[in-house]
């Protein structure tokens, strides 16, 4: 090393101090620097070459990184200062249910009595875990009005695919080979993607001018080759499918099954249950409704609950109550098999159970009531600047549109979303659902106070004013954030996916 070394990282990369970029772990690495410490084992330290044939040994050393513990801490702490999160402020991302995540549930999940248990330990040595899984299954069934559930799916999309495989197994068991699954045009992208992986074709059902499934169009699309329909209710526009019983009857009449995408379950807890609406299969996003933190994109958990006629097909083995106070793994009689390497995202499941126990039936009902109250309050509060796509009572989220701003000042929904970041709020979901143009979907959740909602409203009023006075400034927003608007096209044009990727410019 020369006596004037490369400069290292510093807090200038944290917004606290400015807006420099943080070097990567690899840029901070220095040969032979290290942080790891391992216990003294006393195990004979035979050379690897004596244990493993040369043919298997890598002759090169794979570079990982070489940093001190101090630099490791500084690096990731600074990165954390470049990251927005629920704990920093309101995160009204529609369809994502970014509610406050109780730290109590984190504490439950970090108890070694749960997180230091090997998933392959015999049932007799992990009775606590099996009881947690059985108890959670029972409570999720009570919430959804179903008969039994699998906890294996690791997220909503995995739940969807599992549900479709259950649908398939059910029809096959009736010697009945069906080809199509109906999906409303407002559906989330994972729905059609899952349908394909489930071996079905997608038939899209249009929404009517009330933002709901067009029942007539639906009936037109039905037929004996229809395996079922996937619905989100309230749907992705945040509206309740009022004709759900009619829909259910029509689908059931042709022998199809109803699949409930539970991403919006937060809206109806204690008010109405998918089972009572006529659904046969329900997935839940525990990382939404039951408050598991999203971890920057995961993990989640997507349990699937089913009606009596589908119970035997559930994935397995399943934690099961076998006689008084003892639990064991049992595979359902006609199980479709495993959908996860072990038992699902167990710690997420434990978190959800703790969350349910703290709230109880009364608390969960209030959760939905206040979530819906907040969404409607916000919709009404914002009507002058961002009209609702469908102006009537919504459920837990409201889909507004920036079309007026676009027509008047050429300011797009995206610009509003980016400007909101400068105001200290995460932006709403933009351009989803696809059926609403310039959609801005706000889901305040029940954990935000009315004072915070008012702050959001005032911020949006300021932005609307800027749209009038200085629309350009919105197109350049955000500026006060760790980085300004990012060149997404360039990222896709010339992929740099690792620090070792060739950089042309």
């Amino acid at each position: 090393m020369n006596s004037v070394p490369q400069p290292g990282g510093r807090a200038a990369s944290a917004p606290l101090m400015g807006h420099e970029t943080e070097p990567t772990l690899f840029e901070m690495s220095v040969a032979n620097r290290s942080a790891y410490q391992l216990r003294t084992t006393g195990v004979p330290a035979s050379a690897l070459s004596e244990l493993v044939p040369a043919a298997h040994l890598n002759t090169e050393i794979v570079p990982v990184a070489e940093v001190s513990e101090r630099d490791l801490v500084a690096h990731f702490t600074r990165l954390s200062h470049r990251q927005f999160s629920v704990d920093l402020g309101m995160y009204p991302l529609g369809s994502c249910t970014m509610k406050y995540n109780p730290k109590f549930c984190d504490a439950i999940a970090s108890d070694p009595g749960l997180n230091a248990v090997h998933p392959g330990a015999p049932a007799s040595l992990s009775q606590g875990w099996l009881e947690i899984l059985v108890t959670l299954e029972e409570k999720l069934c009570a919430v959804t009005g179903m008969s039994a559930a699998t906890l294996q799916p690791a997220a909503g999309a995995a739940g969807e695919l599992t549900g479709l495989l259950l649908m398939r197994a059910y029809h096959e068991s009736n010697g009945d080979d069906r080809r199509r699954v109906l999906i409303p045009d407002s559906a989330h992208g994972t729905n059609p993607a899952s349908v394909t992986l489930g071996g079905y074709e997608v038939t899209t059902v249009p929404s009517n001018d009330r933002g709901l499934v067009d029942l007539e169009a639906l009936k037109g699309a039905l037929g004996s080759d229809v395996a079922g329909i996937m619905l989100t209710n309230p749907n992705t526009v945040g509206l309740f499918e009022e004709e759900i019983t009619g829909i259910a009857k029509a689908v059931h009449d042709v022998g199809g099954l109803l699949y409930y995408d539970g991403a919006n379950l937060n809206a109806i807890l204690g008010a109405v249950r998918p089972g009572d609406m006529g659904f046969d299969i329900v997935h839940m996003n525990l990382h939404k409704t039951f408050a598991t933190p999203h971890g920057g994109g995961g993990p989640g958990a997507g349990p699937v609950a089913v009606a009596a006629h589908l119970v035997d097909f559930l994935p397995g083995p399943k934690a099961t109550r076998v006689g008084d106070g003892y639990f064991n793994w049992v595979a359902p009689s006609r199980s479709i098999g495993r959908v996860h390497g072990w038992h699902g995202n167990a710690l997420v499941l434990a978190r959800a159970l703790a969350y349910i126990d703290v709230h109880g039936g009364d608390g969960l009902t209030r959760v939905a009531q206040h979530a819906v109250l907040n969404a409607n309050w916000l919709r009404h509060r914002l009507r002058a600047i961002l009209p609702a796509a469908y102006d009537r009572v919504c459920m837990h989220e409201c889909t507004l549109t920036a079309t007026p701003l676009k027509n008047k000042y050429g300011v797009r929904g995206l610009d509003v979303a980016k400007a909101l970041l400068e105001e200290g709020f995460h932006s709403p979901t933009v351009y989803f659902p696809l059926i609403v143009e310039e959609a801005l979907m706000f889901e305040p959740t029940e954990t935000e106070s009315v004072q915070t909602l008012e702050s959001l409203a005032q911020a949006l009023e300021r932005i609307a004013q800027r749209a009038k006075d200085d629309p350009d400034s919105l197109r350049r927003a955000p500026q006060s954030t760790p980085v300004s608007r990012v060149d997404e096209a360039r990222a896709a044009r010339q992929l740099i996916a690792t620090a070792d990727s060739a950089r042309s410019s």
Binding site: A169, M277, P299, G341
Partner: protein, 455 residues
């Protein structure tokens, strides 16, 4: 007492007034009465956090196998590695924990850069150029690899070594019900895949495990040769810890690497959340499942990171997407980047070496016992299978009384007979040693097993 809802009665009243309605129930009035819940949820009322904690204390004490109470010699894809306080502290920073998927890069550089660093490490350890931002776990990562293979070849036949973890194979069989893939499992002989016993023509993928789930290090040249011969993708499921010292999947010629990343900073967690590692060659980049983060610049030309190649994903591509995955395991990926940063180049090598040293020391000691036979004569890395004179589950139960978690019953793993084992699987015990096991613990294991067998 409080739950987590901020609204006071006054708040609710004034908000209702603002909306011009009477009651919270009015907000649900448009839901058909017929289906409304008449008497609320059939669940007990809420309890305070300390009361719920007391209930969970009951669960945790019933988990006798916790590694804090029993010395863990179980592995099979879930490993008891050292996780230092510094890694726990950093990965628990609430900015990482409570953020959503980084859809707004201007306020998500923390998570995006951490994923970029994770991707770099996955690429290095796999020897393949194109990593993704994580998948659910190794088993579902394998399914994505098979989907990629049929996408690349237009074929349905998946030739899978039965050296691949039984649970991964089971998951592949389940999802094949939807995709219509034909899963052909290749038996092992003496712990090594008997490729010759299977016709690979028209294969979309040839899948090998390295080491295989019984711990054996197979020479992958033959499998690679077969894959090349029939234009199938060569998929390698490898132990990423082993990659610290052994040949990488890329060096064996893999087109796709999948693996379980739990070993990098995630506790045993009763099996989840874990971390599905995935990487492929440049040639397959357009078929990559899930998210990928790329480097770019912001409007002031500062380096920035962003999720990219979005056109593959379900929210844009819908039924034509390369995968349906949306929520993944980002927090575990960030944790892996932190843990690997802590281990560093030589720490990872040291951990891998110590695992091998401990496993071989125990193996030699065990073979000296009556009633213990090696299942295979082949080289192994950090775990190995032995055939016992008694059913494995009985031995595990007996040894548990001395606070030793002896390993995994291969019979239980495979849920019965399996092409990976000739003869009775129920006597076969899979034993694992990590860098955390001391010589005393290993010697104790040997004594306890001797007892268990002679009882």
């Amino acid at each position: 007492m409080a739950d987590y809802l901020p609204h006071t009665d006054d708040d609710v009243q004034s908000m209702l007034a603002f909306l011009g309605i009477e009651s919270l129930d009015d907000l649900f009035a448009h839901i058909p009465q017929a289906i409304r819940l008449a008497n609320g949820l059939d669940l007990a009322d809420g309890m305070s956090e300390p009361d719920v904690a007391a209930i969970f204390a009951g669960y945790t004490s019933a988990n006798k196998a916790k590694a804090t109470a029993m010395t863990c010699f179980a592995g099979g894809g879930a490993y008891d590695h050292e996780v230092p306080a510094v890694v726990k502290m950093l990965s628990n920073r609430s900015e990482f924990v409570t953020a959503y998927t980084p859809y707004q890069p201007e306020v998500a550089q923390g998570v995006l850069q951490a994923i970029f660093e994770y991707q770099t490490l996955v690429a290095r350890l796999s020897g393949l150029a194109i990593p993704n931002a994580s998948l659910y776990d190794a088993a579902t990562a394998l399914v994505e690899a098979l989907n990629m293979a049929s996408g690349a070849t237009g074929r349905q036949k998946m030739v899978v070594s039965s050296g691949v973890h039984p649970h991964w194979r089971a998951v592949a069989r389940t999802f094949a019900r939807g995709t219509g893939h034909q899963i052909v499992e290749v038996p092992l002989r003496d712990g090594v895949t008997d490729w010759a016993s299977i016709d690979v023509t028209d294969a979309a993928a040839v899948v090998a495990a390295y080491p295989n789930y019984l711990g054996v290090l197979e020479d992958l040249s033959e499998a690679k040769g077969l894959a090349t011969a029939c234009d199938a993708l060569f998929v390698v499921g490898a132990d990423p810890v082993a990659a610290g010292v052994l040949k990488t999947a890329g060096q064996w010629g893999a087109d796709v690497f999948v693996g379980e990343g739990q070993a990098f900073g995630t506790p045993l967690s009763f099996g989840g959340p874990y971390l599905g590692l995935f990487a492929c060659t440049q040639a397959q980049v357009r078929r990559l499942p899930g998210r990928i983060v790329g480097e770019t610049v912001d409007s002031s030309d500062r380096r920035a990171f962003v999720t990219t190649l979005r056109a593959r994903e379900q929210d844009i591509r819908r039924e034509k997407a390369t995968s349906n995955v949306c929520t993944n395991q980002t927090l575990m990926a960030v944790t892996a980047a932190i843990q690997l940063g802590w281990l560093g180049t030589f720490g990872l090598r040291e951990v891998a070496t110590r695992c091998a040293q401990g496993a071989h020391y125990l193996f030699d000691e065990l073979l000296a016992l009556d009633g213990v036979e090696a299942l295979s004569t082949q080289p192994f890395f950090r775990e190995f299978a032995v055939r016992l004179a008694k059913p494995a589950d009985q031995v595990i139960a007996a040894m548990a009384e001395s606070n030793v978690l002896a390993g995994l019953s291969v019979g239980a793993l495979c849920a019965g007979a399996d092409p990976s084992v000739d003869g009775n699987v129920d006597d076969v015990l899979l034993v694992t040693v990590t860098e955390r096991r001391t010589k005393d613990e290993i010697d104790h294991y040997v004594n306890v097993l001797r007892e268990a067998l002679t009882r």
